[in-house]
């Protein structure tokens, strides 16, 4: 069940990236899809136990590795999102539109 839910979140994000013309919504879609992958890792790690991964408590703990990996992935994701929004903002300042079709139509025409 949880896997289906995560799949649905991922596809929602992907749909946003592919099908939305608004650049901010594209970035948000990317962020949603990224979260789905993070959930997937953490969910898989949580299947092996039920307590926090602290050494020495003697109980069956969750797999700590996916959590550690996803901390890194979250940081990387935040960097990319921030940078993407900066690019969107700069484009908006220059062209006054957030529509990617409009942006592409006008920017590839500038040269040549």
């Amino acid at each position: 069940m949880a896997l289906y839910l995560i799949g649905a979140i991922f596809l929602t994000g992907l749909w946003g990236v592919v099908n939305r013309a608004n650049m901010v919504k594209k970035v948000i879609g990317l962020s949603i899809a990224n979260s789905a992958i993070i959930l997937l890792f953490v969910y898989q790690g949580s299947l092996s136990g039920n307590t926090a991964p602290i050494e020495g408590t003697g109980e069956v703990m969750v797999d700590p590795l996916p959590q550690a990996l996803m901390l890194t992935a979250i940081v990387v994701g935040v960097c990319v999102m921030a940078l993407a929004l900066v690019l969107v903002y700069r484009l908006y300042r220059k062209l006054g539109t957030l529509d990617i079709r409009e942006v592409e139509r006008r920017s590839w025409k500038l040269h040549d």
Binding site: L14, A21, K26, Q44, L69, L87, L91, S107, W108
Partner: protein
């Protein structure tokens, strides 16, 4: 050198990057900071030379960061593939950094991002586990987005955004692949995976390989993932175009080779051969139609990558040698071409090759360098493109995809005849410059000249000593001397380039006819919008999944 020295390949450019950042914080120190930061790139060269002997003997050098044992620790690995990959990065980065030092507008901030990107590329080359590979890929990505948009022009920003969306979507699938591997085997270390688990032929592992390949494929830019490249390479600053085309797509390609070999992905080879051949042909047709000089070169990068991919996937006994040799040569001549053409664009303030005028007399050294690069990429002896294409011919022997590559070779000649006019001697009659890029009428300085001269020499040297270079690569990659030695400079081999040259000239004449012009206009106007780009990406994803299944 101890194994710990390996870590300095990554640390040296990182330290250089922080020095560059100090130059930004203390404006007075900027003059010292830039050369110091650039000098940090010499350290990897020395480390690579000192490790070459051991790698040649077939030793795999491993080092765990911080002494944490496998499989939890972050491991660095140096083997043949990593050595070639890191060496290409080191050489091109040095040449490019030398070129950028010559110009004040590439400030210490620029050097910071540049050196961070180089760190990422070295990281992808020497990494010993899949997740660290992801992290280094993202380090490259984040810095490259900034560098593509460096000039702050609308085109640069839009190209950067396009690349960001596509490659971030791609890297999500890379993560998905990592997830599948972890779920199936519980380890991510490449060396431990190589001991057995990766080779198990289950549906999940095949799907994992397909996902990983798609993720890296976006960075490597073969069809159908190539759509970001023409804009990103064309509208980035010139030194960045050079390192993007020269080193970055190669580093991703080598990472893909490593992953495919790790997972024993021979079932992908037939598809990859065709993708490579079709990439080579379609991209060169697009290149032939371009009038924007840097876009033309960018399409050629895709096309040459098609060669590299096709010969790798043809799977002959010298497949790796031929494809890595061509990758190394392409790194040399394509960065040379981007740097010389970049200088021409700056001089004339114009990107259209028919309006740039003829700059041969203004910049004679650059003209010679440009023609060396153009002859190399066209495969004319004795330059290096000729040598590696000879190896590609023997590597592709018996493959039915080869005719596509042969057609590509003379279309390449045709498009460089077209581009060659910008550096012919003649009057520099540049008309009104473009609104976004002002011509500076400034001839290149000493550092820039040194940089392109060194690259030119390298192009000639790897061509004249082609067999020896290939033998060296073969020892690195397979641990044995070269088994197939194509006779490079026999009369027969030299005669074979004749029809290519003649057909190239004929193709160029055909393009100049009215029908040719009309067709070029049509091809040139084909710039798929972002949505189509993403749909193409998903189609490619499905193709990989289907081939793996």
């Amino acid at each position: 050198m101890t194994d710990g020295g390996l870590v300095w390949i990554l640390l040296a450019p990182l330290i250089g990057a922080s020095v560059a950042l100090l130059g930004k914080l203390f404006p007075g120190a900027s003059k010292v900071a830039r050369p110091l930061a650039a000098a940090s790139l010499t350290a990897p060269v020395f480390i690579l030379i000192s490790l070459a002997g051991r790698v040649l003997r077939g030793e795999v050098i491993r080092y765990s960061l911080g002494g944490w044992p496998q499989p939890m620790g972050i491991a660095l690995t140096m083997d043949g593939i990593a050595w070639v990959s890191a060496a290409i990065t080191a050489v091109i980065a040095l040449a490019v950094v030398l070129y950028s030092l010559g110009r004040e507008r590439y400030s210490s901030e620029f050097f910071f991002f540049f050196l961070m990107m180089v760190t990422g590329m070295f990281g992808v080359a020497v990494t010993g586990d899949l997740f660290t590979m992801f992290v280094f890929f993202e380090i490259i990505a984040v810095t490259i987005y900034v560098l593509i948009a460096w000039e702050g022009t609308v085109t640069g920003l839009a190209a950067s955004f396009k690349y960001l969306i596509l490659s971030s979507t791609g890297i999500l699938f890379f993560l998905l692949g990592i997830f599948l591997v972890y779920r199936e085997t519980g380890i991510l270390s490449i060396s431990l995976l190589g001991e057995g688990p990766a080779g198990t032929d289950t549906a999940v592992m095949r799907l994992a390989l397909a996902s990983l390949c798609v993720g890296i494929g976006v960075r490597t830019a073969f069809i159908p993932f190539h759509t970001w490249l023409p804009e990103a390479h064309a509208y980035a600053p010139h030194p960045i175009s050079a390192i993007l085309s020269g080193a970055m797509i190669k580093v991703s390609f080598f990472a893909m080779v490593r992953v495919i070999m790790l997972f024993k992905g021979e079932y992908l080879y037939p598809m990859l051969t065709w993708i490579g051949a079709i990439t080579a042909l379609t991209a060169v047709v697009s290149a032939l139609a371009q009038t924007d000089v840097k876009r033309l070169l960018a399409y050629h990068s895709i096309s040459q990558l098609g060669y590299i991919l096709a010969v790798f996937a043809a799977g002959s006994s010298i497949a790796l040698t031929a494809s890595f040799f061509h990758a190394a040569n392409h790194a040399l001549f394509k960065s040379l071409l981007f740097l010389t053409v970049g200088a021409a664009v700056r001089f004339s303030g114009e990107r259209n090759l028919y309006r740039m005028g003829r700059l041969g007399r203004e910049m004679p050294v650059f003209a010679v360098a440009f023609f060396a690069g153009a002859l190399s990429i066209s495969g004319i002896p004795p330059f290096n493109g000729f040598a590696s294409k000879a190896f590609i011919v023997s590597g592709m022997e018996g493959s039915i995809a080869y005719p596509l590559l042969w057609i590509t070779s003379f279309l390449t000649v045709a498009s460089f005849i077209k581009l060659g006019r910008i550096y012919l001697p003649g009057a520099a009659t540049s008309e009104i410059g473009n609104s976004e890029i002002q011509g500076l009428k400034r001839t290149p300085g000493a550092l820039e000249t040194i940089s392109v001269s060194l690259l030119t020499l390298a192009c000639v040297a790897t061509g004249v000593f082609g067999t020896r270079t290939a033998d060296f690569l073969n020892r690195l990659l397979y641990g044995t001397p070269l088994s197939v030695v194509p006779d490079l400079f026999s009369v027969k081999a030299l005669l074979k380039t004749l029809p290519v040259a003649v057909l190239g000239i004929a193709a160029y004449k055909l393009v100049l006819t009215e029908t040719g012009q009309r067709l070029s206009q049509k091809v040139k106007a084909m710039a798929p919008p972002l949505r189509v780009v993403l749909v193409l990406f998903l189609a490619g994803l499905l193709a990989f999944a289907a081939a793996a299944y």
